[in-house]
Symmetry: C2
Subunit: 191 residues, 2 copies
């Protein structure tokens, strides 16, 4: 059973994704939910409460995923592979929320903004350490670890264009393609 509150959050995520948080009005949202604008202040406190929930729910998925990867044991290579899988899974599970999480978090106000940025930094830092370990162990090329991190994280951003592409592929085949490109590179090396 989905409550009306859940309907509101789902429709809001969709709307924020389409128009951006600032350009999306509560009146737009009301129309989609089938309520008058004033009516959903019985369900939610403010427009920003919606943004906060979307952003922090997604953040939690990444944080929990990172937790599991760190505790799994395994080589850096296996860990990075697992993180690609994490990003893929979260993006396919709820592409709309992930888009908002990725693109609209900056419209959070304090103190939520600082809390969010801090979660994000923590996640990136842990991802970075895995890349660094891999380089030290000789599993990865000697790239600049932070450049590699940003390249990987952003390479995974198109996943939430929940358009034709993500429906055309199974999660498994998407993972294989991503691994080919990002981990083994586009170019066929001379043997």
């Amino acid at each position: 059973m989905t409550t009306k509150k859940q309907r509101i959050f789902a429709e809001a995520a969709q709307l924020f994704r389409e128009k951006g948080y600032s350009a999306a009005s509560m009146r737009d949202l009301a129309e989609r939910v089938g309520l008058k604008p004033s009516s959903f202040y019985s369900h939610i406190k403010s427009k920003e409460e919606i943004l906060q929930k979307i952003c922090f729910d997604s953040a939690q998925k990444f944080t929990e995923g990172m937790e599991r990867v760190e505790q799994s044991g395994g080589t850096s290579r296996q860990r990075v592979r697992a993180l690609l899988g994490l990003h893929l899974r979260v993006a396919l599970e709820d592409p709309t929320s992930v888009t908002v999480f990725n693109d609209e978090w900056r419209h959070l106000s304090e103190p939520a903004l600082s809390r969010f940025v801090s979660l994000r930094k923590d996640y990136e830092h842990r991802f970075l350490r895995i890349i660094e370990s891999g380089i030290e162990a000789g599993e990865f090329r000697a790239v600049h670890p932070q450049l590699a991190l940003y390249t990987l994280l952003n390479a995974l951003r198109w996943l939430h264009f929940d358009g034709k592409l993500s429906k055309q592929f199974s999660a498994e085949s998407l993972r294989e393609e991503l691994e080919k490109i990002l981990l083994h590179g586009l170019i066929v090396e001379k043997k």
Copy 2:
């Protein structure tokens, strides 16, 4: 000599990048330029005119770059390498505008929006054909070309975080790192 009009465009790009187009008000902009909000309607026609100029100026840089790459002759590998260089160059040349170009174009209204989307599609299509040729020629791994395209294009998005990183590296060393990661892959292959 920089005209006041140029000042307005430059400050606007900065502001749109920081707050997003919708959340950035003409009052904010006026304050930065040192004018009353009404005054710069002597220089520009509307808020959207600014967005249009930023978006289409950047689009043109990519289109012209693609033109040069296509006419250069050379293998697909060399062409993709040149396109990495193009994205890098444009991003380093004017990181602020590129951010707006990347993230705020959706706030264009018709008919500019359709014109923009069409330019973008055209660019992506031409990039795609280069990837496809490379695969056919056996220069590139047999990846799904469109997935590779989106992965590459988005991998290059962090370049306009004109923060510490992009100042820490020369354009040339950035290019080398990107090539390592994207073209040769993170993983050290067994010989």
